[in-house]
Symmetry: C2
Subunit: 159 residues, 2 copies
Amino acid sequence: MTAIGFEKHDHSRCITTALSEAETRCAEQKLHLTPVRRRVLEILLQRHRAMGAYEILDLLAADGLGSQPPVAYRALDFLVQHGFAHRIERINAYTACAHPAQDHVPAFLICRGCKAVAEAETELEQGRLGAAAMATGFAIERIVVEAEGLCPACQENPE
Amino acid sequence: MTAIGFEKHDHSRCITTALSEAETRCAEQKLHLTPVRRRVLEILLQRHRAMGAYEILDLLAADGLGSQPPVAYRALDFLVQHGFAHRIERINAYTACAHPAQDHVPAFLICRGCKAVAEAETELEQGRLGAAAMATGFAIERIVVEAEGLCPACQENPE
DNA sequence: AAGCGAGATGTTATAACATATCAACCCAAA
DNA sequence: TTTGGGTTGATATGTTATAACATCTCGCTT
């Protein structure tokens, strides 16, 4: 089970690029990409799928970078807060952002087999949801769009 | 904090109606709307907001209808499975379905203040999410659309 | 009527996910 | 050099969810 956004690509390069872009952006915005935070982002980029906080924590611990839940959650909060990662509500997991830099409402395709995640973007806010919000005076602050199903690999190869 | 889908209505009547419709449908489809399941649905209809499983469990226990987590979770699973209720992923909670009967992809407006929930429907599946799924061969099984924010009442009246 | 099986529930234990709290540390600005 | 914000370390606890197994109920069959 590999599925990387469901397609092949030069992954080690994409990790390096993403990491150095993150560093650049943190420098610009005076954010601290500390060792723990950097390592968590690297882990997410390497695996390139949704990972639970405790799964990440185990890997951190193996590196001697903290072994208690708050360490992982704080790093994840930072990454999510600043758009380097997203939280996948449906499965209580986290994944690296595929389009950092620009502000967006992400939409996910989540494979329930291998936890691979593809990130699209939505034009939402129009549509009935936005209309319903308008009509009732509801102030939308955040939108979650997540589709769960099976990626091509897992359709062929159910475990 | 009352906000019932954010608007006023004759609530005791809407509970009765929804319950008897559920009974009718269960009879038709040979589903067992047992005391626990019926009571959970009634609780969700009464409160008319998203409720956690343990909150529901407390009310069940007060009625002598079971006091351990699986009792609540099983009843909720039944209700969700058969379209009488929805799970709100964003806040790990459950709410009665506002449009039972018809099959639909629900979209929610969730007030982070009072947990009131309004249910709209989406035309989704088209849009970029469906397109992305198509393009990659991903088979969508379920879609979650949830907007979090503040309802009109909580905007005026932040606690 | 006795026995069987399916579905529902009861019960215990534990897994999995998340946060509160406070102390220690680092480093840069006053 | 003191002060204060931000980060990390550490302990404890809170919250949500499920595994596993026992029991009950009721309709069906023999």
